[in-house]
Symmetry: C2
Subunit: 352 residues, 2 copies
């Protein structure tokens, strides 16, 4: 098997965590006789420095002909004062939209070696294992008009969805629920928004094809509470773009190990973009102490979702888990009687 993987290191610690991940993927390739071809391209601040735009045409083209994309992180103080259309984050929004990556997957699972770092009491967080499926290419993020009115006296943004956009994300979520604990929580604000009413109708329609999946409808405000008071009551959560942005970030801090969380942005074929949940952390960039686990676990998701390599994905996940249980970790984490090591040393342990 041969796969073309575009690497988008981006900014800050993005570069370090991407290189760490390449090491691990090369181990997998060698061991199982796959060929992974890596093509490195600029995005975000790095691209702005070279091309004056956060997502250059060359980068987009490389992604379009690849089997999957690994993205490090974008952004940093250097580009913070640029006008919005050429800010690093714009590169993220554009690449999602242009590659049609409509489903953002954010698994949140507590690591037993790190439970003590959770802001939640152990009885609240333990056994949590949830997956947030966020719609990624519609809603308030892209709806038009989005403009000032009447000489800056008013302003409007538009929450716009096409029915097929809701249908395809809901469908995906049902499929994930079926492959997990068969419980789907659909989050909306149907007591206020017309778009949420349509969303709820679609979930009800689609649920007929998944009689084995239990469906629950929850308002977004209630969901933001229950994520804290009872995170282990969730299995798969599906919601629209803006609600998903807020809830998936809220969920990401529950386990106390943000630096470890992976994410995937996929579409209906097997192509996908994989990135850690953490940001570019410019303050620690280049020091060799970045935590590469979120990126490495994102690569595991790539093996699973884009290449169908379930066993190889699991091997990476287990290796990460064992390394933590053995006490090795970067300085952002704390493990009782553990040992702080550099990014490279941690990667070497996992590769082992």
């Amino acid at each position: 098997m041969k796969k073309r993987i575009v690497l988008l290191p981006g900014d800050g610690i993005g570069r370090e965590v991407i290189y760490s991940t390449k090491v691990i993927l090369n181990v997998i390739a060698k061991r199982f006789h796959y060929t992974f071809e890596f093509i490195e391209m600029p995005i975000g601040g790095e691209a702005i420095d070279q091309y004056n735009i956060p997502l250059p045409e060359v980068t987009l083209e490389a992604c379009q002909t690849a089997d999957a994309v690994l993205l490090g992180a974008v952004g940093g103080p250097k580009w913070d004062s640029l006008p919005a259309p050429i800010r690093p984050e714009k590169g993220l929004l554009e690449i999602r939209k242009k590659l049609g990556l409509f489903a953002n997957l954010r698994p949140v699972k507590s690591f037993s070696a790190l439970l003590h770092a959770s802001p939640l009491k152990e009885k609240f967080i333990k056994d949590s294992d949830l997956l947030i499926v966020r719609e990624l290419t519609g809603g308030l993020y892209f709806g038009k008009p989005s403009e000032r009115r009447n000489n800056d006296k008013a302003v409007v943004d538009t929450l716009y969805y096409e029915r097929y956009e809701m249908e395809r994300i809901v469908e995906k979520a049902f499929q994930f629920a079926r492959s997990r604990k068969k419980h789907l929580t659909s989050v909306d604000k149907a007591n206020v928004l017309e778009s949420s009413k349509m969303w709820r109708e679609i979930v009800k329609e689609k649920s007929k094809a998944y009689p084995d999946v239990t469906v629950e409808h929850m308002y977004v405000d209630a969901a933001s509470m229950k994520l804290i008071t009872n995170p282990s009551s969730f299995d798969v959560i599906v919601t629209e773009n803006m609600f998903g942005d807020i809830l998936s970030d809220e969920a990401s801090v529950l386990t106390g190990s943000l630096g470890m969380l992976p994410s995937a942005s996929i579409r209906s074929d097997s192509f996908g973009l994989y990135e850690p949940v953490h940001g570019s952390a410019p303050d620690i960039a280049g020091k060799g102490i970045a935590n590469p686990l979120g990126m490495i676990l994102s690569a595991a998701l790539m093996l699973r979702f884009s290449f169908g390599l379930e066993m190889e994905a699991t091997i990476i996940e287990k290796a990460v888990n064992h390394t933590l249980l053995d006490g090795y970790h970067t300085p952002d984490l704390h493990i009782e009687n553990g040992r702080i090591v550099s990014t490279d040393e941690l990667v070497a342990r996992i590769a082992d």
Copy 2:
């Protein structure tokens, strides 16, 4: 001093907590020689049963001529299957809009007697004392169009704000920050929404008149994380309607004492509507075990914000605190070596 107070018991435990609160207000009136005139009116499910709409004209008129309104809670399974325009919650949205109550205030403070009930570890939650100022009459909640398009093939909701709506809420928030710890966090999504960009500009403009207040801008996704990882870093948070809905509910579960939290919805004059954060809890309604503290503390906010009775407000807050420290509480709470009492007995203790 004479004040007309409209009581809107609403549904479920709304009635019990309103009557409890009346008892306490009568004690204050007697002790300090004020006259509180109470006028009871229907809202929510109760109003639907009587008038077929959740906010009858008579109720609205009574509120318009009153000095303040106390609201219990609305909603319940009985009315859950009604079409949206005559659902109990619609009464809430309408009364806010029609009375021009543009600022929703949600103070969140941890009670030392109840810290153990927080889902957060003590070191995360202790010393938290924040106030969320939510815009209540604009944004996605009321923007037009909000409709299906193209034969149900698409749907649109509109996030619309007038500049003056943003200005007045930001102004209010600065005033509260000035009277507290002089720290204001403005929450938006300025990396995506045009309305958030205008919001941020207005906050920057207004901040010039409050050089003593430190201003911080935060994206809504980041705020949803920081509320959990570092709630005590916040003082006053100001945000638009939908973000405020989500964040204030998220914040309300941090202390582990949702049943105790008050809220106020105010405008530029002294008029206001006060209600507990909890819902109508139909499962325990009529059993004499409802926790009246959220409603009683809401009445304290009424004394403070609408009637300028700071001392009397503080007396109620202290009485509640002492009663809890003495160990008395309703069955929804748990206090080590405490004593579970009925709603009436708890009220009697506080009145004492």
